[in-house]
Symmetry: C2
Subunit: 231 residues, 2 copies
DNA sequence: CGCAAAACATGACAAATGTCATCTTTCCCG
DNA sequence: CGGGAAAGATGACATTTGTCATGTTTTGCG
């Protein structure tokens, strides 16, 4: 657990303290679907009709900049919910959600979720906590984008990916396939810069590259380069 | 109302729909204080003991980067509350709050506020909405920091300041005194860059400078330079 | 009022980063 | 399995932006 700018992760679940009736109500009304890699759960600009719960799989949430460039806002893992921000503030989606691999996703209709919010205070409070954690994450990340050079941001992003998605059996290969472009859109820089820096990290023995697979070989050194925030 | 990255503003109040008893309870327990310009309401890293309501005056919320450089996270105006994020997630403050001018501030003790949250669902729901709006703001701002050049960011920031704090009687002079360094820490760049760009904007007739006073002379042009997000 | 400190301003320069062009490799789909 | 498209890689270069040095102006306070 690095005290880095992506520190949110490890949030349990907004339903962790829900009443049995709440869980039953949601189970009754949820609609589960299978999505292939690269499919879109929802689109930036659309109005939300419900909440998405990621049962299995990985998802990216990305926002389009003025010139159409993608900025990846959050990485979402199995067990997380998405789409709540727009739902709560009765607003359009601020980003599109696209699966990074095949995924099983449950949809909880808006009315059901809003009803749950009214009948089970614990869900509301947990949701408030989740929003708070994400707000903190976003605000720390603001600082990091404004103040850190690309090299440090990449190191930190690699650590963050490990923290979010973990590793394969070998305990070093990041358990997600992201293109260089996607990494660039997460770090907030040009794809070429990422390609150059990754091969530099590779040459310097911090990571090992094998196609889209990235192994974290020397984590201590990466942490040093990342120049992380407190803790 | 620009659809810009600082679009939050115009949020009314988390107590707008509160019950009379709620208001009474808060009024009974609140502690009001006067703060001189430059005084600190709370410090990054400390644990929160309550919520701050800004009755009059202006406040900046800033986070320290790794090398000790200030990043201004939010600008707060009279009528806003601050300190709720840390309170909700039972976390340390992620930023320090400092007055930008003399201010009257009410303090609502933690227990009182948490009790209100339990007894008046409207406050919780409004707080959730506020958090949602701020999260959106922060995530749009992430994109803007990652993708826009300093010139565009400065133009947008000037418009944002106008939107947040408004103007003096003349309807063009921004109603707040910020140092060049503070503007730089809001935009996320070096002070010298801001000084150069401001005098460039001045020369080109978009703004007029008079010490710390900044007049928005040609707003249309500024909007054009800012290259704003949708709407 | 006058002085010291802070803020503002400006130039010169270096470093970081983005862009463009081109080539190679990998991946996907029929 | 093969061919085309996408992704990855690399070099040359321009641009943006930050840094440092230095001078000027403003501000606050005894």
């Amino acid at each position: 657990m690095y005290g880095n700018c992506f520190a949110q992760s490890s949030y349990t679940s907004i339903f962790s303290k829900a009443k049995p009736e709440t869980v039953a109500e949601i189970n009754k009304h949820k609609i589960c679907n299978f999505y292939r890699k690269g499919q879109m759960l929802f689109t930036e600009g659309a109005f939300p009709f419900g909440l998405y719960y990621i049962k299995t799989g990985k998802v990216k949430l990305s926002h389009l900049g003025q010139d159409g460039k993608e900025q990846i806002i959050r990485l979402i893992n199995a067990g997380d919910v998405i789409g709540y921000r727009a739902l709560i503030s009765n607003d359009r989606y601020n980003g599109s959600a696209v699966t990074l691999e095949d995924a099983n996703v449950c949809f909880i209709p808006k009315e059901v979720f809003l009803h749950v919010l009214q009948t089970d205070a614990s869900v509301g409070f947990e949701l408030m906590k989740l929003l708070s954690v994400e707000l903190k994450t976003a605000e720390i990340r603001l600082t990091y984008l404004a103040q850190k050079p690309v090299r440090e941001r990449l190191a930190e992003t690699l650590l963050f990916i490990k923290q979010t998605y973990g590793c394969e059996q070998d305990a070093v290969t990041l358990d997600v396939r992201l293109s260089r472009e996607e990494i660039a859109n997460l770090v907030g820089t040009a794809t070429e810069s990422i390609i150059r820096l990754l091969s530099e990290f590779n040459k310097d023995g911090m990571i090992a590259l094998d196609g889209k697979k990235i192994k974290i070989v020397n984590e201590e050194e990466l942490i040093k380069i990342a120049n992380l925030e407190n803790v």
